[in-house]
Amino acid sequence: MSDLTLLGAAETAALVARGDVSAHEVTARHLDRIEQTDEAIHAFLHVDRGLALAQADEVDRARAEGAVLGPLAGVPLALKDVFTMQGAPTTCGSKILEGWHPPYDATVVERLKAGGVVVLGKTNMDEFAMGSSTENSAYGVTRNPWNLNRIPGGSSGGSSAAVAARQAPLAIGTDTGGSIRQPAAVTGIVGVKPTYGGVSRYGLVAFSSSLDQGGPFARSVLDAALLHEVIAGHDRRDATSIEAPVPRVVAAARGELGGVSGMKVGVVSQLQGEGYQSGVQARFDETVELLTGLGAEVIEVSCPSFEYALPAYYLIAPSECSSNLARFDGMRYGLRAGDDGEHGVEQVMSMTRAQGFGPEVKRRIMLGTYALSAGYYDAYYGQAQKVRTLIRRDFDAAYKKVDVLISPTTPTVAFLIGERADDPIAMYKADLATLPSSLYGGPAMSLPAGLGDDDLPVGVQLMAAVQRDEQVYRVGAVLEAALQERWGGALLDRIPELAMGGVA
């Protein structure tokens, strides 16, 4: 059997369902791949070979007994270490949760298990999902498989790198301001942020409650759609989860809902141009032209309030996180520092948090505390929530004119590790194009659009109206097919052979 790690998820599932290959074999090969490549990449924080193979064996057993398998049964997956899963640690990339073993599974994990998806392990991330480069992890950086000196994006850098490096055909990340889409863009794969509320947050350690959303990484739009359908759907344990049926993303990805001919696509004036690398702008312009060629009508759309998305986000998210992270106080789980009989509880809490949290987390906690404090609430948090309404109005107006919006996913290709580590604002600008749809709550996808500066991947972002996730998959699938035809294969085929055990 040729290299199983080259296959996509749909293909793998089909082989397993037909009995052409065992789930055990598939998982074993991917575990080997991790072993060969992860010393260089460091995508994973925790891999449990025994547990993964046991899950795979379970699928093989079910198949042998004649059970009907789910559409992704037997497919391996990398899970961002921000989801709780029994039998493994959940660290959220932080020292404060080092060694913590949650006593319950996240809903997303329950659904993956029920679907026979094999979780290989937990992936690296920026601490508590705060960052755009995975450099804020307390457990070391993850390296971009395209160039080991470059960041893989963040905060879901580990998940994205794992898929790009073929350690797994699928991964789950979370996106609060762009943390699935931006890593997908800089590692040359597909990443989707579903409509807010589309995927249950029960068991997703909260960073910014009104923005966090779990979503799929994959090497094709169809694979992402298949994973999207496994994890999405109403959950009674999450009061913010949507009750309506999951949008028909798989059908859309298969073209069953139509192509792009006749669709209206909006280019957002504010999300391009100045601040965007020339390579990024060029790949974006070409993609837009391609869409026109495919029969879509492209219109320029202006969304003036998007200028305020970054400041609004960096008030809302830190505010919510300052409250969400208060529970890490050393009393019930996780790290406890300073409990030597000399210090009272207040001091122990303060020492624990000082020791357990990294600089970015501390910055955002203090920023959020400030924005919510008496006398400042109206000017900061209160005002930011109003800006959010204005952003929503811009989107609503846009979606009356067009079916989807399009922009570059992020202004630059993957930057060098260390390049922006001391410049928070520069780091925040990686999210310029992804923030508006986060604040609005609508679905958004990043898919590979070609190579930019330094021969590094560029992503293009498709956005749609709230609960219209199928629209981004519909357009994404067509675009992907057209681009791959132009390239003679997937963008990922061009990933250089790196010193990763000699296997590219």
């Binding site: 989801f83 709780t84 959940t90 959220c92 949760l97 913590w100 949650p102 006593p103 319950y104 996240a106 947050r201 029960y202 068991g203 997703l204 350690v205 909260a206 409650s209 009104s210 009674r236 344990r237 999450d238 009061a239 913010t240 505010s319 919510e320 300052s322 409250s323 208060a326 529970r327 890490f328 106080d329 009393m331 019930r332 789980y333 509880v345 207040e346 809490m349 505390t369 919510l372 404090s373 008496a374 609430y377 948090y381």
Partner: protein, 509 residues
């Protein structure tokens, strides 16, 4: 533990002659829903520590709250019963502060969008001129969650000061609470402590009648914080207020208000200023002492709870709930007064004793209301006063009292024996029948045994028999007394008297 410092006090009379008190009462009611406010853990009191906890109420990373429908219903009913407007749209908010009994280090509560607001409770306050109606304005009632329970270890008293460390049980964390806040209460100064007491009493009756909580102050299912400030007579601006917590009974509410009036008056009179602080009430001497004064006022950084949706009860549902409300307290009181044929004054005594509901329950079991009142406001109230407890805190139930009344009317007990049965029940010796059996308290009704005692007593006092035969029937009393003594009070005095007269051969009376 007594007060740490002896603060000077002005006499109550002098204090109210100079200052006008303004009170604010905050009452927390623990709802009797089966499950917690935001998760499906049971709320039953008394379970082993940390056995009624889940990821949500333990605040584990990744856990999310979902609102208990029944708690919303109870909150609305409480609001309606207090004459409040029910918000057609209300939200939860996070109250952010760090404390080890708070799993999330924020409390999910309601801030500027409470579910009920702007109501009033009519109460009657006992004055020298009879009961006076007072209207206590209700600012708001809102939903929130309770914290875990802390045990302080080490140190002399199990309280914070001097404790070495603490142990926490999170069973109680997440239990639904309704916080009811009054508008500032300004009444005739002399009445302030009584008004506070009457308000809490009435409110408690209302809560129990609604069936939303058992509202036992001594068990913590109803907690009162008393806020008090003084203003010099004639002034309009409010003074600085203190908040007194740990007020664990209805009588303590009255004492705490009274003490604070006296203490604050002394401070102000001597030219000092009142420190805005939380104070702790001491049961043993009725004093309040300062809690640790914070350097800066707490900033709770309230913001709307993003994990929960707004509560928007529809008008139909609210009206349906309105029809489930019990009788308003004053109306119920008037009805019972008529049914029982008692005076306003007697009714007020019942209420002051905190016994109205208990009497009503006893009557519901079949007892005559006069009998029920006699025991609850008589012997049982006497004992509760002696022990410094509310009547409701004593371990004797309406069922017990009804049984005692039945036994007495059957002739198995007389009043003296009944009092001993009460003592036995309170001591935990069992129900009335068990106590009677164990202590051998039944009235001797066997005539044979009584005659023996009668004969013995007559023989011991032969001149009495002669007096009786002469027509001085009252003299029999001495023999009755002797027989009662001989039978340790277990004889029916009336029957004894009959037997004496028969024996002596006196003319029937």
């Amino acid at each position: 533990m007594t007060a740490d410092t002896t603060e000077p006090l002005m006499s109550f009379e002098d204090a109210i002659a100079t200052f006008d008190p303004v009170m604010g009462l905050e009452v927390h009611v623990e709802l009797n829903t089966l499950t917690k406010m935001f998760c499906g853990c049971p709320t039953e009191f008394g379970a082993p520590p940390n056995t009624q906890v889940c990821p949500v109420c333990l605040g584990l990373p990744g856990a999310l709250p979902v609102v208990n429908e029944k708690a919303v219903e109870s909150a609305i009913r409480i609001g309606l019963a207090l004459g409040c407007s029910i918000a057609d749209w209300s939200r939860f908010a996070r109250k952010n502060y760090f404390y080890p009994d708070m799993p999330k280090d924020f409390q999910t509560s309601q801030y500027d969008e409470p579910i009920a607001f702007n109501g009033a409770l009519e109460i009657l306050v006992e004055t020298d001129d009879g009961p006076r109606p007072v209207t206590v304005g209700i600012e708001r009632a809102h939903m929130e969650e309770d914290t875990g329970k802390i045990l302080h270890v080490g140190g002399a008293t199990g309280r914070i000061h001097g404790a070495d460390y603490s142990l926490i049980d999170y069973n109680r964390a997440g239990v639904p609470l309704i916080e009811i806040v009054t508008k500032p209460i300004e009444v005739e100064p002399a009445l302030a402590p009584s008004v506070a007491r009457a308000y809490v009493t009435e409110l408690r009756e209302l809560i129990v009648a609604l069936g939303v909580s058992d509202a036992h102050m001594h068990q913590g299912s109803m907690r009162v914080d008393a806020n008090l400030s003084l203003k010099p007579r004639g002034r309009t601006e409010f003074g600085t207020r203190t908040e007194t917590k740990n007020v664990n009974s209805i009588r303590s509410v009255e004492r705490a208000v009274r003490f604070e009036i006296q203490r604050q008056a002394a401070v102000l009179q001597s030219g000092g200023t009142i420190i805005q602080e939380t104070r702790h009430f001491h049961e043993n001497d009725g004093s309040t002492t300062s809690g640790r004064v914070k350097e800066e006022a707490e900033d709770y950084r309230y913001f709307p709870e993003p994990d929960l949706t707004p509560v928007a009860p529809d008008a139909e549902w609210i009206e349906a709930l309105r029809s489930t409300l019990p009788e308003p307290p004053l109306q119920r009181r008037a009805r019972l007064r008529e049914e029982w044929g008692i005076s306003e004054h007697d009714m007020q005594s019942l209420i002051n004793a905190g016994a109205l509901e208990l009497v009503e329950q006893t009557v519901a079991l079949g007892a005559d209301s006069a009998d029920a009142r006699k025991w609850w406001t008589g012997e049982i109230s006497r004992i509760s006063n002696e022990r410094g407890l509310d009547v409701a805190e004593l371990p004797i139930t309406p069922s017990d009292v009804n049984r005692i009344i039945v036994l007495t009317s059957e002739g198995s007990l007389n009043d003296k024996l009944a009092r001993q049965v009460i003592e036995g029940v309170l001591a935990g010796e069992g129900g009335p029948d068990e106590v009677v059996l164990a202590r051998g308290l039944a009235i001797v009704s066997d005539d044979g045994a009584l005659l023996e005692a009668v004969d013995a007593a007559l023989a011991a006092q032969p001149d009495i028999a002669a007096k009786i035969r002469d027509g001085k029937v009252q003299a029999a009393g001495a023999i009755v007394g002797a027989v009662m003594k001989a039978t340790a009070g277990k004889a029916d005095a009336g029957r004894v008297r009959e037997l004496i007269l028969e024996r002596v051969g006196a003319p029937p009376s």
